[in-house]
Symmetry: D2
Subunit: 438 residues, 4 copies
């Protein structure tokens, strides 16, 4: 089996989508040009667990242009664009992905990615890396069992020892991998692509900021102007969402936080801050972006106004207590694609979007290509960096070197036709001297 | 001599200003309450080179409440509020400060601060620390000679060896002190108050953002709406200024940068980015905030439109090439307080505000008290920290410990009547685990 | 025949959509309650040419609740939501509408609406009223011939003389009807619903502002942050679009105008203004909202950058010279739904959205329900007003009386849970006196 | 007596200020050029009651250039810039104005303006016109008696009958004059300059928006970011202030209104709306802009938080119940220029700025020149229009003809270097036709 997708006949449509993305990812296309000439990934087997979108396809094609053999599986059960999966499959990528997988199918996909015996892993949320480690360490769980169904009978300890390294795309994944590193569990070095400036300052903020609202509007078609919007979490993602809420005319934008410095920043950025238990009573639209569990609990939901809308923009579907909601709901029905109405015991109704999963990827198309251009350029450079430095990187979670990060920024500006200043020699000297004062 | 101020009869007016500031600095007032009880600075001699403003007076009174003896001199020749200086002098602080010092008087003040043989120094721009080091190291310069006139004949090497440590308020000073540390010149440990989250994220951004425009409006009374504003530098100060330019209705806000990541952030924040040589031709108002020399050169000035306004928000008056402007100007006259008109050889006129010095401190009153509340709470805690840990801190430039920084944020929220969420035990566990995935 | 729709089996899905809209249209639902009790439209035959959306369905159901018999046809060939059409048809409304009509089918629908011999007409763009007048006046044209195919052989002069009046929803339609009134052509009175404050200040600005961007994002998935956006026209629609462009992070928002006062307002609102011939060279995304023909000409298109995106938010598809584009294009292909790529003779590519038709209705779902709540409450009250005052209204184009307009605003605030102040007797007296001065 | 000012020796400083304003008022300067050539006001006696600011001086000089003899008195007891009054006096203008007049002095000034037997009056708030009418009608009051002290013994009925007409600058004045016209009291025609698009859309919104905050910041130096701001009234002035409050980073901007349509606009513009009685409890800064009496009552003040700041941006000092505040205050003291602290019986303190008078004119310098450029160009054209059409204008309050208004806009764009589009012949035809539909 070389692929498993929903419908291979969607390939032509997928190819047009990928081409559209390529037009908006000029930095990655420049890297592809170089990879095509230099073949830095020649013979490298890569397994990637990433959202299967048109932008990921541009990345995969770039890795292939560099000489790699790529296996692609999803990083979320609902985020696959089936046309894109079909197009990649037809081009010979080992794709195992379709929109709407159940938990078993999802981990079958992860297992399939492992079965290809990668020397580099790529992750968005760390499911592939974590599962591979669990297999190697003999940890038991349902997920592991599902993965084993497709991974086959292998010496996973040996397999993991031959991995050069992995990349991780998102905050949540980096947090998991850092926890593994702290514990001493981690078996190969990781490049935290998320920690590149040209990733987290842009993708997390401007990408999620726009695409979360895009997902909410596609799902609900509600008017943001005049609404009370509650954003849980004021990290880069949360501040992008809050900023756009204001830009779309929300009457009140309320932020909830646990970190006092971030809370203060929200206040001085012109937002209201209060505990979720208070915000629950006045919000019209709730969006979680904390990276943590139960940012919205059942107690919060029971306090909400009739008609409240709930969406999640964090990586995992744990931020809203969907299980609690399911448990107490008097009635549940689907209103529109990605909108489910729950009638609560108190008679009020709330509307959960996209099952509490990443609303931007499920109800819309994830981040726009322009911002993934930078994130995935970092990914491509990170893979090249791992391959070049194989055997030399220390165990642990690393940032991509600053000069590569800066290079991505420089290329992005250039492809946008924007020129900037250069430090003069005099300025360089001044900034590093201490003798000159008032 | 215990003080040298412009006019001691201004004291009553100064006291009212200080009281007004105290009302808006509740965090520092809470620290003062504790200092009054605990006297952590008992017998400590502090010399401070800070902008002599009503907010600084609230800090000085807090240090005194903690048991310290304080000497206060300016950190800028033009930024002293004479009423405040008078009020402090009358209260027994060793003040040597008036608005409009020349270079010699300014360094006389620095020398006076040194003559008090401090065990803790406080700086805003590092002039005091640098001068003390130059004296101790035997470096010769005009500034040093001026300082010697008041510092008296002493064993500066011995003096410097008895200093427990110093604090530094601003980015520019931190850069200078880091350069000294790198070179091995630094003789006592420094707490870079500027690097506290509750300082640079707030004071540099929201404080300078507002107060720079306050200074420009007081000086010129021009309308921002409809104007083309050019901001040199997109650090925390620059982004505060750019954000407020947009908030005041500027038609175009153009940012110039040398750092490609910052330049990209400006672009995605909704600003235009271009080299200063291009921006020079289209701007109506130019504001520098780079921390570097000659962000606006004479060449740039000669390209500007008739009527262009130039202001500086960076620490030192080196960002605009004022010397070059003076050299070529066909005519020069004062139009309003803090507005000087230069007629260029090409017949066009440009308007330099506040002699190219910090426009917010010279033409307005510096940062609002609310934001200095946090910065100066960090200062007070930094002094206490130095005293508590004397002899234990390594040579070098340090951040204040995170828990003190967080404590300032927590107190600020509390005094604003804002409550935030706390992590539950479940959430704390989740965020530090790695096993739970999709 | 009582209806002609795409697929009657979509009715159930349509009903859920209508119910969703009803939840967000509380003012219209209050009017429906009253209509149900009072039956003010008993026996009234209404023919409506409106966008066949879920919100229009809520209006139609309200008219029916008031006792009317309603015929519904589209006001745009591409804007029909087929599920909604099916649901209304199943409920007994005479619906003749599907998405993607050609010109002949569209005017067949108009003819069908006329064949029902309405005593009240409702229009969005005035196609129904104009066609009925052309028939009555014996004007010949293709459109008239198509309409005749379904309107049947009738005495249209007699028919038109028995019409009590009509309503018109949009600026473009009002302009056409005012031109007819000026010429003396108009045969029955019109209520320009568009001219109600609670219509044009909200629907045109906040509704189109959001929904135009919603349509563009669904069609293209591009990132707005960092882009150069050009908006043609700074009427209420244009300013909504420009405001949201800025809110979504556009780097430059350029407005083109022919009216100097509006142009100045754009400048002081913080936008750039220039002629389209200049803007054409620098824009990434172009959106027309002028209500006029050829706001973007072929000449403009030929100047554009490779990759430029073109969309229209004005009522008719005449604002972009699509015919010219079709004529010169070297190649044309569909990239995504509602995105067509044209390769120009100069080798560059431009992307036309939604065939140059209303992008918010074609690529998204039109205005959100919350804003149509007010517009369609005005419609319902306008129909009632026409019926109540039949025979008494003068020929011409009228505004709905201010007290009805204010009542809509009052109900809207009430349903949002927002309370406002009332003038005290003292204040009422003060505001109408002239004797009290300084 | 030809003038009465504070200190004639301030004239040189005043001249520089006027020159600075002239640089920023290019449209009025173009009109002055034409007036200088054409002398359209030759021999015309004008009495003007206007804020005596540098911008008014530019207008007065323009009228004089046109041939007029001008008398200038204040329109507010606190708004005179003494340097400007001195400069004008030295140039031969009949100035009777200084900062800080009491009520008697203020009406003495009005009487002086009447004593010059003007044929054209110019007003900002209508005090001059109203007083002249009261004199002519024999109405008795303190103000009238004060005016008589300087107006001398005259036949005021005859005087008023020889007035060609008057101009009125502001909303409040227009409301008073419309009330007089309604009652049949008005004796000569008025041009409501305020009703020109190029006046009220700009000066009231962008001018007051910025200058009100400028006044508040100069008076208090408080930080806007993080504050809760309450704006009473959402007319053009109120929306300017609310917009800038958000632009300066206020955490919550609350609007109070009595008009439901305006209240809804505020909501959809992204502001909170509630009754003042609720807002009173949560606001940090209160600004009135209603044009009505007691927008903030003593009851409201007693509910406010300790430290609340109160300012007025409406024409008259009646919007805040200052009398009530004075009556109940336990203690009152001046904290800074234009900041008075009142200790309430409940122990809390509130801070009243500028005695409740126009904070932008009292604590800052009024509107920036750029925006007065348009307002005063309308004034100059209105005077010319009155003179040209003397004897032909109907009694009543008129708008300046649209073509003059448009001309001001066109000149403003031109002087800003901004070009706009022109309607093509085809576009002009299309927009006035009705036959072309879908």
């Amino acid at each position: 089996m070389t692929y498993k997708v929903k419908d291979i006949s969607l390939a032509e449509k997928g190819r047009l989508l990928i081409e559209w993305a390529e037009r908006h990812m000029p930095v990655l296309m420049k890297i592809r040009e170089r990879f095509t000439r230099e073949k830095p990934l020649d013979g490298i087997r890569i397994s990637a667990s990433l959202h299967v979108t048109k932008e990921t396809a541009v990345l995969v094609r770039t890795l292939v242009a560099g000489g790699a053999t790529v296996t692609l599986v999803p990083s979320n059960p609902l985020s696959t664009q089936d046309e894109v999966a079909a197009a990649l499959a037809e081009d010979g990528i080992y794709v195992y992905a379709w929109k709407g997988m159940n938990e078993r199918e999802y981990y079958n996909a992860i297992g399939f990615a492992i079965s290809q015996e990668p020397v580099v892993t790529m992750d968005d949320g760390a499911d592939l890396t974590v599962t591979l480690h669990k297999l190697a360490l003999g940890v038991k769980s349902n997920e592991v069992n599902y993965a084993l169904e497709t991974a086959g009978d292998r010496d996973f300890a040996k397999l993991i020892s031959s991995v050069y390294g992995g990349t991780e795309e998102t905050t949540t994944g980096v947090i998991r991998l850092r926890a593994m590193a702290r514990e001493g569990t981690l078996r190969y070095p990781i490049i935290a692509v998320n920690d590149s400036y040209t990733k987290y300052l842009f993708d997390n903020r401007y990408g999620t900021g726009q695409s979360t609202w895009d997902g909410i509007l596609r799902a609900t078609n509600i008017l943001v102007a005049g609404k009370v919007v509650v954003v849980a979490g004021y990290g880069w993602v949360g501040r992008g969402i809050a900023m756009r809420a204001k830009g779309l005319g929300a009457r009140r934008v309320i932020v909830t936080e646990v970190n006092p410095v971030r809370a203060l920043e929200a206040v001085f950025d012109g937002f209201e801050v209060m505990p979720m238990s208070e915000a629950a009573e006045i919000g019209d639209i709730f969006i979680t972006a904390t990276g943590d569990i139960n940012a919205i609990t059942l107690d919060h939901i029971l306090k909400m106004k009739d008609g409240a809308v709930l969406a999640n923009a964090g990586h995992f579907n744990v931020e809203i207590d969907v299980a609690g909601l399911e448990r107490v709901a008097a009635e549940k029905r689907k209103i529109r694609d990605y909108v489910v109405e729950y009638r609560l015991p108190n008679g009020k109704r709330v509307y959960l979007l996209a099952e509490g999963r990443l609303v931007n990827l499920v109800a819309a198309e994830g981040h726009p290509s322009e911002v993934m251009d930078m994130s995935f350029s970092n990914q491509a450079l990170a893979v090249e960096y791992i391959v070049k430095n194989r055997g030399k990187l220390q165990l642990g979670v690393h940032k991509l070197p600053d000069e590569l990060d800066m290079e991505v920024a420089r290329l992005k500006l250039e492809t946008m036709g924007i020129r900037i200043d250069q430090l003069t020699e005099e300025q360089r000297r001044y900034i590093s001297s201490w003798g000159l004062g008032t």
